[in-house]
């Protein structure tokens, strides 16, 4: 509205400044990120590794650079002793495509895949020692695709047979990201048993979620490879990836197209969608109204879709539809320099070389250097001291009390 209150003469030069802007223009984001988590380990969970790697390959193909992909993977399948095809991970029985072959950058590997690291990664509360590659350096104009796979249950996902992340934890982490301005929109996808319970606790705006199976339902593996000897991929992920093969960098396919491609008899479970926190409509009326109905959907009134009733209203508000490439695209904007700009900076030069003798890099900072946080106490540095201290104190008390008793004997 306020755009028109400016004199036209002011805006005209602005248009000259952006001669070529390639942008999806449907979403207020300037960069895309992906967090792909395989929370399982051990050889028999080969398929979870393949799920995550298949998703990794897809987001990379669609243009998210490796620096913007955080891959958390136990990574014990490719070089497992039981792997007949050493150094390879396949997601189909014919072993047509090696998911591991080329450029794989695993950011959190093996025992680094923990609930704590996952939540720290999301909330950005990482110790200063962590490198850039392990950080989710997003801002309020980032769209994030988050994919989880592993063994789970009602409202939890198991991490490496050791600990669990609950739906509350993820919901809280997302809210902290929202408060911290760490995302524009999140697309959350989870493939695990009772997966839809994982997104049931979300309460922060801008999140679109989908899961592989309703509460009380398993998520199934897709196919075995008899040479590898284990199931190689999960059914839901397999069909999502199969659909994603249709998508390219300039595709205009919407999220509605993806969701309506869910084929319950093939997948074997009832995937769910949650869009009540998401502002934009998922797609044009036609495919999305069909979601959850028809062949195979045994659910009364259509498949699980939280936010179904809000969809018409969103469409009426003429908001742009959610495209698949909004979450899977690469760098979404490039500005080319125009020539008339060039001359303005031609003469931006230091006059002569005598000035060069003063060291150019020392630009003084006005900000008083913030002193590093006051050295923390020994307890903070070695967290294990806390419980052991308690033990020592307890032991001392015991010793004291008993020595008192024994000394009364004499």
């Amino acid at each position: 509205m306020c755009l028109f209150s400016f004199p036209f003469s002011l805006w005209f030069p602005l248009f000259l400044l952006f001669p070529l802007t390639i942008s999806n223009a449907s979403s207020q984001h300037t960069n895309n990120w992906a967090v792909l988590v395989c929370s399982s380990r051990y050889w028999f969970n080969y398929r979870h590794m393949a799920n995550a790697l298949g998703m990794y390959r897809t987001v990379k193909r669609l243009g998210i650079p490796d620096s913007n992909i955080i891959l958390m993977l136990a990574d014990d399948a490719a070089c497992n002793e039981r792997n007949r095809f050493a150094g390879s991970v396949y997601a189909n029985p014919g072993r047509h495509l090696d998911l591991y072959g080329e450029n794989i950058e695993v950011d959190y590997r093996g025992y680094e895949v923990t609930v704590e690291n996952f939540l720290r990664l999301l909330t950005g509360r990482l110790p200063p020692s962590f490198p850039r590659s392990k950080r989710l350096l997003t801002d309020s104009s980032s769209n994030i695709f988050i994919y989880l796979t592993g063994h789970g249950g009602n409202e939890f996902l198991k991490f490496q047979d050791n600990e669990e992340v609950s739906a509350h934890d993820i919901a809280d982490a997302f809210h902290q990201m929202y408060e911290g301005g760490r995302y524009n929109e999140i697309f959350f996808m989870v493939d695990t048993c009772q997966a839809n319970s994982m997104y049931s606790k979300f309460y922060s705006p801008g999140i679109l979620a989908t899961g592989s199976s309703v509460v009380g339902e398993n998520s199934y593996s897709h196919e075995n490879d008899y040479d590898i000897g284990v199931a190689v991929i999960d059914s839901y992920t397999h069909y999502v990836l199969e659909y994603m093969e249709k998508v390219n960098k300039t595709s205009r396919l919407t999220m509605a197209d993806l969701f309506t491609s869910y084929d319950v008899p093939k997948i074997g479970s009832h995937p769910g969608v949650r869009s009540d926190l998401f502002e934009r409509p998922l797609g044009p009326e036609h495919p999305m109204n069909e979601y959850g109905r028809g062949r195979g959907w045994t659910v009364q009134g259509g498949g699980e879709w939280m936010g179904r009733e809000m969809e018409t209203e969103k469409r009426e508000r003429k908001l742009t539809e959610a495209l698949i490439t909004d979450f899977f695209g690469g760098v979404v904007e490039v500005d080319m320099d125009s020539d008339d700009d060039l001359h303005a900076f031609e003469d931006l030069e230091c006059p002569a070389s005598e000035e060069l003798t003063s060291s150019p890099m020392k630009a003084s900072s006005p900000v008083a250097p913030l002193s590093p946080p006051a050295s923390s106490s020994l307890l903070d540095m070695y967290p294990f001291l806390r419980p052991s201290l308690a033990f020592i104190l307890l032991g001392a008390l015991f010793a004291f009390v008993f020595s008192g008793i024994f000394s009364t004997r004499s």
Binding site: K60, R132, G330, C350, A363, V367, L370, L393
Partner: protein, 511 residues
């Protein structure tokens, strides 16, 4: 008889005597009572209070940055429209317009940077003075385009520190004609240093550079026409950066990096041109990725150059692109093309631009620290299990203090540099508090989960302890009752027989 003597009579064991046994059992309970606070202390989450109400009050305050303009009396008719235009374009500016005095002097005398509008032959600026043709009527729009521009959306977010990374990429060194070196120090000193030194009060810059000899593209540039020219479509540009194989900056710190890439196409693939939307080669060879950096494609001239070292004159056009891209990424506003700038020292940045950027960054920082502080306190109150330690508390307080000082001084003659310094300090502290590694909420456990964990741990220890205590209490009460009964009976005996001495020794009297 021997066997019997080997075992002592339990009643004679010292710890089986009543009071020792009770002492032992009581000691367990004393221990538990003492350990409970310790256990409570070690398992509870440290949540220090945050100045919540102060944060909310602070977050509602609006920053008003004073702006002094001295307008020559020639333009007195335009003052009202000037004030309104600035108010509309930038509500965070507190405009004071003086008129009727000699403006040519005032701008140098004020501590706070004041601006002067003076009548001139043509439209130009010099220092903080604007010379304006006396017959022109559009002073308001000129002023807003100088002082109240919007922040470029391609600019990177404010950070007190930036790392500038300059990379010379040979696409394929093995194809011949490889550039082995460049006069990077001179080029930076000549083209980049004017900007970094002018903006030194805003950011602390670290500069690094490198030359790489093998940097393949992730796609095949299409060949168009038969002259062996290769083209980059708009779509190619978006995937130009092959971050899987190019290492464009050292990862030695977590400061935000602005990347500048000078790309030399392989000998088999040149010239490489950027295509404009209609498919013809564009005359520009540079493009910018918002918030990330800039790329310049350098096609070597057709006869292979003798030298494999890029000299300063050869880098001139590339680096003027870089300096333009850098100023865009840093959010430096541009002078409107109609205004010429005559500077005595030939530093190409006018104080108008730098001042405007300072004001915009100050405002941005204040807004961001308001948001961050508010988010911190709402999160802490919303999530019960989120720890708040001393450092977080101190950082929130420090950020508030910096903001308070900034607001207190905004009325006085505090310079823009100091305002920015306060705002940057507030921002740094507030985001440090928000992203403090200690602020990770403990994992959520449902109540059943807690019972399931604690019951096997404590029940097995507590049941025998409780049982022993109950049994001992029961025995003690029984004993007491018996003793009382005995005493009652004794008293009865005493009254009957009137024998005080027997009662005193405690020897039971035969009944």
């Amino acid at each position: 008889m021997d066997a019997e003597s080997r075992f002592r009579d339990p009643a004679t064991l010292f710890f089986q005597s009543d009071h020792v046994r009770r002492y032992i059992i009581a000691s367990y309970w004393v221990l538990i009572a003492l350990a409970l606070p310790l256990w409570w202390k070690t398992t509870s989450i440290e949540r220090l209070p945050l100045p919540t109400s102060e944060v909310y009050t602070q977050a509602q305050r609006k920053l008003e940055i004073p702006l002094e303009i001295c307008v020559d009396s020639t333009f007195s008719s335009q003052i009202v429209s000037l004030r309104d235009a600035i108010r509309v374009a930038a509500s965070y500016l507190d405009v004071h317009i003086n008129t009727g005095q000699d403006c040519s002097m005032s701008s140098t005398l004020l501590v706070f940077p004041g601006y002067a509008v003076l009548p001139g032959e043509k439209l130009y600026i010099e220092d903080r003075k604007l010379y304006y043709p006396s017959h022109a009527e559009n002073l308001a729009s000129t002023f807003t385009s100088l002082l109240a521009t919007k922040m470029d959306r391609r600019a990177a977010q404010y950070s007190p520190r930036y790392r500038l990374s300059f990379t010379l990429l040979n696409e394929d060194g093995s194809a011949g004609q490889v550039i082995t070196g460049w006069d990077i120090q001179q080029a930076i000193a000549r083209h980049i240093y004017p900007i970094t030194s002018a903006l030194g009060i805003l950011h602390n810059f670290t500069i690094e550079s490198q030359v790489q000899f093998h940097a393949p593209l992730a796609f095949e540039p299409q060949s168009f026409s038969n002259e062996g020219t290769f083209g980059l479509t708009a779509e190619n540009l978006t995937v130009f950066i092959n971050s899987a194989e190019w290492v464009l900056s050292s990862s030695s710190s977590n400061d935000p990096v602005l990347h500048f890439v000078l790309f030399v196409p392989s000998a088999t693939r040149r010239p490489l041109e950027i295509l404009s939307p209609d498919g013809t080669p564009s005359s520009s060879s540079a493009f910018l990725i918002p918030q990330w950096g800039g790329i310049v494609i350098l096609n070597l001239p057709a006869p292979p150059p003798n030298t494999l070292h890029l000299t300063l004159p050869e880098l001139r056009s590339s680096f003027s692109s870089f300096s333009r891209q850098l100023s865009t990424l840093l959010g430096l506003p541009r002078l409107p093309p109609s205004i010429s700038y005559s500077s005595p020292s030939k530093t190409a940045l006018s104080p108008w631009q730098v001042d405007t950027l300072l004001r915009q960054r100050t405002r941005e920082n204040v807004m961001r620290s308001h948001d961050t502080l508010r988010s911190t306190v709402t999160l802490v109150s919303r999530i019960d299990s989120m720890p708040v330690d001393e450092q977080v508390q101190a950082q929130v307080q420090g950020s508030l203090k910096a903001l308070n000082e900034l607001f207190a001084y905004a009325r006085n003659n505090i310079t823009l540099n100091e305002m920015l310094a306060y705002s940057a300090r507030a921002l740094t502290l507030s985001s440090k508090a928000f992203f403090h590694p200690g602020m990770l909420a403990m994992l959520y456990f449902p109540t059943e989960h807690k019972y399931a964990v604690y019951t096997p741990l404590f029940a097995s220890a507590m049941i025998p302890l409780l049982a022993a205590a109950l049994r001992e209490i029961a025995a003690w009460r029984k004993e007491r009752r018996e003793a009382r009964d005995a005493r009652v009976a004794e008293n009865a005996n005493v009254t009957n027989y009137d024998l005080k001495t027997d009662a005193a020794t405690g020897a039971p009297v035969a009944r």
